[in-house]
């Protein structure tokens, strides 16, 4: 495991390259531009030829120190749909297994002159660190329990597509908020676009410092337009710590079942699901579940992110309104 020295944790002062490290670095205009670009990419996926030549000749490295299906595969496909070359490095089966530090791995991959490095790492700040030691544009695909910006963007995209106007929407985020980078990124993204959030879950898993209403009563989800279910993250719970008495107890009190939802209330989940724990299979498979749309949104939003970090995006941010493409 790499140990970061203090200097390396310093955020890069005015990075010369465009990175996507955190939702905190985005403005409302950035979000609108990214969602607009994603919308245009979505229309290109309706064609017979789904590939665009946009990033031909560019190299995109996917460096994953944690397991992932959705995020890594959608980044890979996003790069391929834009005609970029991809290099996928996973910690298992690579030199990381032999004890290579993040710095050396980053420098090694940096020697291939990649245009973008997409990184997922269990330690907070790893993407910032890679941005400092390499020349590449860096996209954070999840660092510890800190940030997962592309997940937040694809969730906004999904909400706009399936529910409509974001401003004034009310979303209940249910479950293990404490260990969730998704929740942290989402709350920042919600604040940018005017979505109200309520955090619901066991008291030990609801951090108090987050800017949202909290409730330990599952009944609080009834007020929300959309219920966002988080995964129970056993891998981030320290051994011996009892955040919840048991998974069965958690399910009994906070599991999302048809009985606890209003008819037609929409449900989201970032995946992977623990069916029967935080979410009832009847909900996961119901027409009110937006989970498949989230996965599909992930592809086009990640295409937009790769395009945007490399191009700087259009200035003036007259991002394409959804109506213009319809």
């Amino acid at each position: 495991m790499i140990r970061l020295v203090k200097d390396d944790l310093r955020p890069p002062g005015d990075p010369p390259k465009r990175h996507l490290l955190s939702v905190a670095g985005l403005t409302r205009d950035d979000v609108e531009r990214l969602l607009g670009t994603a919308r245009t990419f979505e229309t290109s996926l309706e064609r017979h030829v789904k590939k665009l030549p946009t990033l031909k000749g560019h190299l995109i490295v996917n460096l994953f120190y944690e397991s992932s299906t959705r995020t890594s595969s959608s980044f890979e496909l996003a790069a391929k749909r834009l005609s970029a070359d991809t290099l996928n490095v996973k910690s298992t089966g690579s030199s990381v297994d032999k004890g290579e530090s993040l710095k050396d791995t980053a420098l090694t991959l940096g020697a291939y002159d990649p245009d973008v490095i997409v990184i997922r790492h269990p330690q907070i700040g790893a993407p910032q660190f890679v941005a400092r030691v390499t020349e590449a544009h860096v996209v954070n695909a999840g660092d510890g329990k800190h940030q997962h910006p592309t997940q937040a963007l694809l969730d906004l995209y999904t909400l706009r597509k399936e529910v409509g106007e974001l401003d004034g929407l009310h979303v209940a985020i249910v479950g293990d908020v404490l260990h969730s980078r998704v929740a942290r990124s989402l709350l920042q993204a919600f604040a940018l676009v005017g979505i109200r959030a309520t955090l619901v879950g066991p008291p030990a898993l609801l951090p108090r410092e987050l800017p949202a209403e909290t409730s330990t009563d599952i009944g609080a989800i009834l007020d929300a337009d959309v219920v966002y279910v988080l995964r129970m993250q056993n891998e981030r719970m320290e051994a011996g710590a009892n955040f919840v008495p048991s998974l069965r107890e958690y399910t009994a009190r906070w599991g999302i079942t048809p009985e606890r939802l209003r008819p037609g209330q929409k449900v989201m989940h970032p995946g992977p699901m623990n069916r029967g724990v935080e979410i009832d299979p009847r909900i996961a498979d119901s027409p009110d579940s937006l989970i498949t749309t989230q996965v599909r949104s992930g592809l086009v939003v990640r295409m937009a992110v790769l395009y945007d970090v490399l191009t700087g995006g259009p200035v003036g941010v007259q991002a394409l309104a959804a109506a213009e493409v319809a």
Binding site: S44, H48, T311, V315, A319, L320, V325
Partner: protein
């Protein structure tokens, strides 16, 4: 008309001149294409789109057949998407607009429509975009103004006006649909016309 123009420049075509020019292009398209129902007019975003719409209307008035109408955005097909190794792109990327081709391209004669033909790079990108949607039988090019300075072996089939220019100059086409008036101006700007 050019007195109303927000941009200072020498007027090359006023509203009447522009209307006459489009009418002539429409006539030439009808002449050049005996089977008009196989023709599709595809405007290149932004100003090629209203031009294509006007041409379609003129063709219908003249021949009684309204050709299919589409729009293509070339942003993702540009050859200058990124400046490799640079800190920031040299010029801002243009706003991404919609590509709409709601008809099968296969077997059709596609007439690409744009306002100004300059280096030819936009046309190259538009042709690439078209072929990702299908296989047209023939692709033709109609432009309101050809200002020269080609960098690629591309030539227009229908030209409204040939206007030899210096590289430092800029041709600005203004259309009611976008700019609230019809005019073609020559602007002596050092900034290059977007390609």
């Amino acid at each position: 008309m050019s007195t109303h123009a927000p941009v200072q420049g020498k007027s090359l075509l006023d509203a009447d001149g522009l209307a006459r020019t489009l009418s002539r292009i429409a006539h030439e398209i009808v002449e050049g294409n005996p089977s008009l129902d196989a023709v599709a007019l595809v405007g290149i975003q932004t100003r090629g789109v209203p031009l294509a719409r006007r041409l379609a209307r003129l063709i219908e008035e003249r021949a009684g057949v309204e050709p299919a109408l589409g729009a293509v955005d070339i942003t993702f097909y540009r050859d200058d998407v990124t400046v490799r190794g640079g800190e920031a792109p040299l010029s801002a990327q243009p706003v991404v607009r919609a590509t709409q081709l709601d008809f099968p391209l296969d077997g059709r004669t596609v007439v690409l429509v744009d306002d100004v033909l300059y280096t030819g790079r936009t046309i190259r990108a538009a042709i690439d975009a078209l072929f990702d949607y299908g296989r047209p039988a023939r692709v033709q090019l109609a432009v309101l103004v050809d200002r020269g300075h080609r960098e690629l072996p591309i030539r227009p089939d229908y030209v409204g006006k040939n206007l030899p220019t210096a590289r430092g100059e800029r041709i600005q086409v203004q259309l009611v649909e976008v700019d609230e008036l019809d005019a073609v101006l020559l602007v002596g700007s050092p900034e290059e016309e977007s390609r």
